[in-house]
């Protein structure tokens, strides 16, 4: 016999109170000689015995009731064969963890893994007694606890399970044992059962850490663990990437997007149709003839931008068993036109080279929607910046404080600034002016020119290992020999704060060549080398035009373009302190989420901590303001839906005592076989209460009988009688 709350048994010492009272009552009998025994003899003798018997019965009833109530509160349970001798019910506290990652949506419409998981949950529910504590958690993404220690009621439980939905996120398997253990430990039950219903994705289980294995073993200490696997077939196609690879995001231009489709199945898939939609309108369709098993294929999707403003672009495949990962979304902020202003601090060489690189037209013709203009640095004060999208400062010796403020404000509004070093740059003046604002204009503090040439006087090439940055995308496609032709002789030394990060570095030394930092809603790129050829030969290689065009594309169309993943934070940056204290995010399911605006690193940002849905969110500075779309995609790693085989699963659970029940029948059988304990607290409580009521009734009845006889008139007994 075991008890859930053994300490409560100490309360059973309380039965000593009525016994003590009884004994004290007995021991407090006073003795007296008595003459008038004849009036006691006839009736009292019998009565005395009766009273003694009744007192004893009442005492026994009180003691038994108290003992039974204490036992009931201590929640006793019988284990083993002895359980057959006592009344009781097979009771257990149940924790159910349901894998709700989007891989569970894989399968035919009515036979998805999730549906089968809910079938297993129904089997579990059939074996739960009303009133038993139940906790249910949806595992996936942030894990959502649907019920914590809920007293089981079949209807309420069914309603609760109906609200369970798949989340567009993956399963963090390492967190599962901890989550289930926390729920189990929080539960007050003598016999605990922990159920984990999952599709045992091989991706998760094969990569599970030793920590997970030990956590799984520890989970067994909190209760008996049942694993109800609901595996499915492997085949799955997923749209894993959709990226802008070329083109300028401006009205009238055409952007080239690259969509990647991966086949996670074990069989090749043919004729995969990829549809591209812009604002819901299908504008391009490509077919991938065949995708080998486990391979990825890409297609180029050409998107013409007919209108300016934020544009929602999707690439989608169809005919798949898992629709969640068949779509990828991006947002392109298309401008009416893109205008670049090159401010040349040299004798004109830098401006000319920059224009050539940006226009990339040998005939010198111009495009009315893409304008590049070069001016000498002394003309900058008179140049209006409102019409300019990107300003490039090449070897500009110095700027005034007013110009610094003007450029800072310009960048904060969401525009781009590119800064090139050069022999004319007066580092100390730039440092002083740049630091005069609350946040420095340039990403780094400037130093002296440094010779970075190799020992034989040749320039140093760029480091081919580049960060995962949109600027690096075109460079990666260059042949290595062409990439290595770019050589650098001199660079400006720089002191990089933590808010900036390098994008391009020199091979060998790791010296930064290109730095980036954010300023308000805009970005600033800083080359530590020159735009013209005195410190490098970059302008003479294919790297330069590709880099500059990508940079202008990035800066001109960057706003809200980067796609986010479910679970990421979504941010809305403000140019200056906003009037409203809250920003509004519209979720893809049209839920309105209000987020307070906070100051972060001297900028005002509204941060939505966790994007729970996949689709297009809309961020608004206020409820009435126009929305700025943000694309949120699922994490495609979860798309690998292949499940563990039975031997693999057994191998994984080798060191644990977890019971695996693949089918509903096996699960029901396993529950019955495991539930050998009988809980008797209800019976004890019931009998205890009945005894208590009976004792009260009995005592009350005795009292009433005594009262019914009424008082005896003995008024003539105290004095003389004639």
């Amino acid at each position: 016999m075991t008890f859930l709350h053994p300490l409560i048994l100490l309360a059973s010492l309380g039965i000593s109170l009525p016994i003590l009272a009884h004994l004290l009552n007995r021991h407090q009998v006073q003795h007296t000689p008595w003459a008038a025994m004849q009036f006691l003899n006839r009736n009292v003798r019998v009565r005395s015995r009766q009273i003694r018997l009744r007192d004893l019965i009442l005492l026994l009833m009180r003691c038994a009731a108290l003992l039974l109530l204490v036992l009931a509160l201590a929640r006793p349970a019988w284990q083993g064969s002895i359980a057959n001798w006592f009344p009781g019910e097979s009771r257990a506290g149940v924790v159910i963890g349901i894998d709700a990652s989007f891989s569970m949506a894989h399968g035919d419409k009515d036979q998805t893994r999730f549906r089968r998981a809910l079938g297993q949950v129904a089997v579990i529910a059939k074996n739960i007694q009303p009133g038993d504590p139940v906790s249910v958690v949806l595992l996936g993404g942030e894990n959502k606890v649907l019920a914590r220690n809920m007293a089981f009621d079949q209807n309420r439980f069914s309603d609760l399970i109906e609200t369970a939905k798949i989340v567009p996120a993956g399963l963090d398997l390492d967190r599962v044992p901890g989550q289930l253990k926390e729920l189990a430990d929080d539960m007050e039950a003598l016999n605990k059962e922990i159920y984990f219903v999952t599709d045992i994705q091989a991706r998760d289980w094969n990569e599970s850490s030793t920590k997970f294995q030990s956590a799984l073993a520890d989970l067994g200490e909190s209760g008996q663990v049942f694993l109800a696997p609901v595996p499915g077939i492997d085949g799955n196609l997923a749209m894993t990437e959709l990226e802008l690879v070329s083109g300028v995001l401006r009205k009238g231009a055409v952007g080239r997007y690259q969509a990647t489709v991966k086949n996670y199945g074990t069989d090749p898939v043919t004729n995969v149709e990829v549809q591209c939609r812009v604002e819901g309108v299908q504008i391009d369709t490509k077919t991938i003839p065949i995708i080998a098993a486990g391979a990825s294929e890409t297609v180029s999707l050409f998107v013409p931008f007919h209108n300016s403003g934020p544009t929602r672009i999707t690439a989608e495949i169809t005919g798949d068993l898992l629709p969640t990962d068949n779509i990828r979304r991006v947002v392109a902020v298309v401008r009416d036109r893109v205008s670049v202003l090159c401010v040349d601090g040299t004798d004109g060489t830098a401006g000319r080279l920059l224009m050539a690189a940006l226009l990339a037209r040998s005939d010198g013709s111009t495009d009315e929607n893409f304008q590049v203009k070069s001016i000498p640095w002394l003309s900058l004060p008179s140049e209006p910046l409102e019409e300019i999208d990107v300003v490039i400062l090449a070897d500009v010796p110095e700027i005034t404080e007013q110009q610094t403020k003007q450029l800072s404000q310009y960048v904060r509004q969401g525009n781009g600034l590119v800064w090139f070093a050069g022999k004319n740059v007066k580092a100390n003046i730039w440092n002083e002016r740049s630091a005069s604002n609350s946040q420095p204009l340039l990403p780094a503090k400037l130093g002296l020119p440094v010779d970075v040439s190799t020992g034989n006087g040749a320039g140093r090439p760029l480091d081919p290992s580049m960060p995962d940055h949109p600027l690096c995308l075109p460079l990666r496609s260059l042949p290595e020999d062409l990439f290595s032709e770019t050589r650098f002789l001199t660079r400006l030394d720089s002191e990089i704060p933590s808010s900036s990060f390098p994008i391009l570095k020199l091979a060998g030394s790791g010296d930064p060549i290109l730095l980036e930092h954010s300023l308000g809603r805009g970005q600033v790129f800083m080359f530590t080398t020159s735009a013209e050829t005195s410190w490098n030969n970059m302008a003479l290689t294919p790297v330069f035009p590709m880099l500059m065009q990508q940079m202008v594309t990035y800066l001109a169309g960057r706003e809200f373009e980067p796609s986010q993943t479910v679970g990421d934070s979504l941010s809305l940056a403000y140019e200056e302190q906003p009037d409203a204290s809250d920003a509004v995010f519209d979720s893809p399911s049209d839920e309105l989420i209000t987020v307070p605006v906070r100051e972060h690193r001297k900028q005002f940002v509204a941060l939505l901590e966790n994007a729970r849905e996949a689709g297009f969110y809309e961020a608004r500075v206020s409820v009435q303001a126009p929305g700025l779309p943000i694309a949120v995609n699922i994490d495609s790693e979860e798309s690998n839906v292949s499940s563990l085989t039975t031997p693999e699963l057994n191998q994984n659970l080798d060191s644990t005592n977890i019971i695996v029940a693949p089918s509903e029948a096996e699960l029901a059988s396993a529950i019955q076989a495991n539930r050998t304990q009988k809980s008797s607290w209800r019976q004890f409580m019931l009998i205890g209460l009945i005894l208590l009521i009976a004792e009260s009734f009995f005592a009350d009845r005795l009292q009433k009988r005594k009262q019914l006889k009424g008082p005896t008139d003995n008024s003539n007994l105290g004095g003389q009688d004639g």
């Binding site: 003795h31 003389q720 009688d721």
Partner: protein, 309 residues
């Protein structure tokens, strides 16, 4: 101290007990009694001069009428009516049950006070007082006499007797009745804790012999009220088996039984023309006797002996 005689608390039974000298006690009681306006109930039996007869050897010298001797020079003695028609017998129950005392004075001691006081009253009226002490049998019997020494004898006899349980009272009354030669006033001082029929049978015998019977039913206040609370073990004074019980729970039944007994006894006495009175030992003896004499006088003046409320 009683409520009836707030100024005479020196007559409380506890204080009388401390006096020790029964004659003194009797005198105190009787003196206290004279404070009231009651007349002696035995006055109707008072002595009166009858006639003279010639002195014979053996007659008491003090009974010689010296005036007659002065006139006739012969010895004559005076004869009184009282010597021939009034004896008072005090029948004191000294059984074990009389030893019960809820406070300091037992029923037996109280009976002693009553007997001594009555003897004192009778003797001061120059009547004779006889005494019988009984329990399971007649332990002592003093024929009537007119000297105060009988009070001392009462004290001495009661002190020497070891109480014995009594099973019946009729037998003793029968025996005593046989011993009484003349019709007398018989005062029975007892708790009468016996079978009512048995008691009445004994009393009837006395009445049948022509005695005027007075019953002073001496009871302790606890026996009258049964005020016990909680668990009590009652140990019978007449060798009954002890009874342990919750006294407050059985009080009602006790009083019911007791009332039934009292009613039967009272009715029986009335039917046998036995003068009956319940004596509560918590009350001063003088108060009890005062009440007794008042009722006795009322009876003599016309009311029938058994016509008690």
């Amino acid at each position: 101290m009683t409520e009836h005689l707030p100024g005479n608390n020196y007559l409380a039974p506890e204080l009388l007990q401390k006096l020790g000298d029964l004659e003194l006690i009797a005198r105190e009681v009787v003196e206290g009694l004279r404070v009231g306006t009651h007349r002696s109930p035995l006055r109707g039996c008072s002595t009166e001069f009858a006639h003279h007869r010639q002195y014979a050897p053996g007659d008491p010298i003090r009974s010689i009428d010296w005036r007659v001797y002065g006139r006739s020079d012969r010895y004559y003695t005076k004869l009184y009516e009282a010597e021939t028609n009034f004896d008072c017998y005090l029948l004191v129950d000294a059984s074990s049950s009389m030893n019960y005392a809820s406070e300091k004075v037992s029923k037996l001691e109280y009976a002693k006070f009553l007997a001594a006081s009555l003897a004192h009253i009778v003797l001061t009226q120059r009547d004779s007082v006889g005494l019988s002490i009984f329990d399971s049998e007649v332990r002592a019997h003093l024929p009537p006499r007119s000297t105060m020494s009988i009070i001392l004898q009462i004290d001495q006899l009661l002190r020497n007797i070891k109480p014995v349980p009594r099973s019946s009272i009729a037998k003793q009354l029968h025996d005593i009745a046989i011993m009484m030669k003349r019709r007398s006033v018989v005062v029975v001082i007892s708790d009468l804790l016996s079978d009512v029929d048995d008691i009445l049978a004994g009393l009837d015998h006395l009445r049948f012999d022509g005695h005027s019977v007075v019953v002073l039913h001496t009871l302790d206040p606890y026996e009258l009220e049964f005020p016990f609370q909680g668990a009590w073990c009652f140990e019978g004074l007449e060798l009954e088996e002890p009874i342990t019980t919750q006294a407050d729970r059985i009080r009602e039944e006790y009083l019911a039984n007791f009332n039934q007994y009292m009613t039967k006894l009272r009715n029986g006495c009335a039917g046998s023309q036995v003068d009956y009175m319940t004596v509560n030992t918590s009350l001063p003896p003088n108060e009890v006797l005062s009440e007794f004499f008042f009722k006795r006088e009322a009876m003599i003046n016309g009311a029938s002996p058994g016509a008690r409320p």
